[in-house]
Symmetry: C2
Subunit: 151 residues, 2 copies
Amino acid sequence: MTRWPLPATMTLALEQAREAAESGEVPIGAVVVKDGRVVGRGRNGPRERHDPTSHAEIEAIRAAARFLGNERLEGCELWVTLEPCAMCAGAIAHARIARLYYAASDPKGGAVEHGARVFDHPQCLHRPEVYAGIGEAEAADLLRGFFRQRR
Amino acid sequence: MTRWPLPATMTLALEQAREAAESGEVPIGAVVVKDGRVVGRGRNGPRERHDPTSHAEIEAIRAAARFLGNERLEGCELWVTLEPCAMCAGAIAHARIARLYYAASDPKGGAVEHGARVFDHPQCLHRPEVYAGIGEAEAADLLRGFFRQRR
């Protein structure tokens, strides 16, 4: 059997997740892409950075906005290894991300297809196109391996 | 008639909101308080900072976590002039804020008593005590004045 290869952008997000694990942080990674070019990357790091907002998506969005000199990331894609939480889904809407691709879904903390379903309310002023499941097994393996080691 | 005075903490949050307006940003301000002492303050500033996550609550939480050297703000209060959006409500939960006090409610973008109601789902791992309406008129006046000027 030949496995369909992962898009390079999700491979980059998974690399960011691995870097998080190496620093002892929950392995979640993200990249922001504009016109096929990476304009921001980020990985989970709240503990070492003493910053509860330091999720992969927030770091990648902040990096991209800084790089582009604009708080609105119109026409950008966000690739992330886990379903975003409410905080990150809200940031994705504020940033006007055009397309969101995530790997594993997160019934425990997700807020896209679970819980707060942030994009599904009229109070959400921008709703990205959402694609899920790309690299799901790889992302979930990373998380499982991390938590197994910690137990 | 004697108007009941505002708590000093909400007065400080309103000052932060005024500073935002002076910089041409939507006037919303916040402070984080621990044991009666201000440990972080923030004001809305996404445009000038090129950062879509630069809401008053996020700035105040990041400042407090940096100051205290801990990503968990246990036992802290957050005072903010407007009902938090989904992003900020999520950040409040991640930061383990014990008590949230906000002035005006926000039917258009709020996510505490409106829309996503972030704290009301099992996916929200920490729910602060919530107190609303303290300084409501002052906070709403600031916002109305700002948008009137811009029209």
